[in-house]
Assembly symmetry: C2
Homo-oligomer: 171 residues x 2
DNA sequence: TTGACAGGTTCCAAATTGGAACCCTATAAT
DNA sequence: ATTATAGGGTTCCAATTTGGAACCTGTCAA
């Protein structure tokens, strides 16, 4: 299978990664969260080639993660800003940060820490059950077929067996 | 800059993505959570070429996300299983699932839903402040220089200006 | 008038990929 | 005893993707 076909899987991970699972895209989104907005600033920050950057930015605009906002009419200059769809990638980025802080730090500790404006404390975001408020861990979660698969099956559509075979997530 | 150099940035996102930010790696990890364990099963599930798969599995073992476990001594057959380091990628994957469910579903709803063993309910995991328990959103978080950068600066090490320039994360 | 700046595009060499073919070992089937 | 099959690879090549350098264009500033 080639990469362009992975989003044919009935799987939100595959579909998500089809959008931002390549080498540079999430780093561009990271920079957008840091308020990097202009072509040349992305380039400086990432050291990516212009060609690639141009590609990636256009793609992100296409899929609705970034907006192109005119900031200089005469010279047709645009800024790239996160849309709501982009802003909601925040937990993805933050969970990567937390994993990285724990597993690929170099002994000096977290490069960046975070303050929660609402309570003023330094925050270690946590991932909890919305029903019982306990921490979510892989071992306590049982995946089940959801409507996205069920409805397709009811309509007789082919759904790869692989999507269906949802086993308990654990090693 | 070429991709192999991105983990020189003092940034947990860059360092994380240096490990699992390429096209197939996170999908392999996804499958590992689904209890896919053998070479040929990964291959069937992903449709990736053997060459690539071999590469990626070895890489994941190298960086300590998967363990190679002998299951047939005579024929030297191994299973690939998540280590603790791998299991802790769960929130990364789940936040991708939640984003994908919301933004790249096709009208049929979530392909897969999740039950929380501890309370028996269907769970929508949420990302909250460990101090005040309120939901975390990009707009309420202020990044600050952490020890990982500060200590390097105190030792006089070069830290790219880019890592330091931590602006409020918002558009 | 010259030059710098922002934001591209074009081109090529180098790296990465997918796919097919092949290899090796150990069991299973005939 | 011979053949087949399964698991897990490796080798090779053509196609795709990439990084980097060079070039283009329209505006402003000196």
């Amino acid at each position: 299978m080639r990469w362009e076909e992975i989003d044919t899987q009935v799987c939100s991970i595959a579909r998500g990664l089809a959008i931002f699972g390549d080498k540079w895209t999430l780093l561009i989104v990271r920079d957008a969260f840091r308020r990097v907005r202009r072509f040349s600033d992305f380039q400086k920050s990432l050291g990516i080639s212009k060609h690639r950057l141009s590609d990636r930015l256009n793609r992100l605009v296409e899929v609705g993660i970034l907006n192109k906002v005119l900031y200089d009419e005469k010279r047709a200059r645009y800024e790239y800003r996160l849309t709501q769809k982009g802003i909601e990638l925040y937990p993805v980025l933050m969970t990567v940060v937390q994993w990285g802080d724990k597993w690929v730090c170099d002994g000096d500790g977290s490069p960046v820490v975070f303050e929660h404006k609402l309570c003023g404390h330094e925050v270690q975001p946590k991932y909890v059950c919305d029903q019982c408020e306990k921490d979510i861990t892989a071992r306590d979660i049982v995946p089940k077929i959801g409507p996205g698969i069920e409805r397709k099956l009811l309509r007789g559509e082919a759904v790869s067996r692989d999507s269906i075979d949802v086993k308990s997530i654990t090693n």
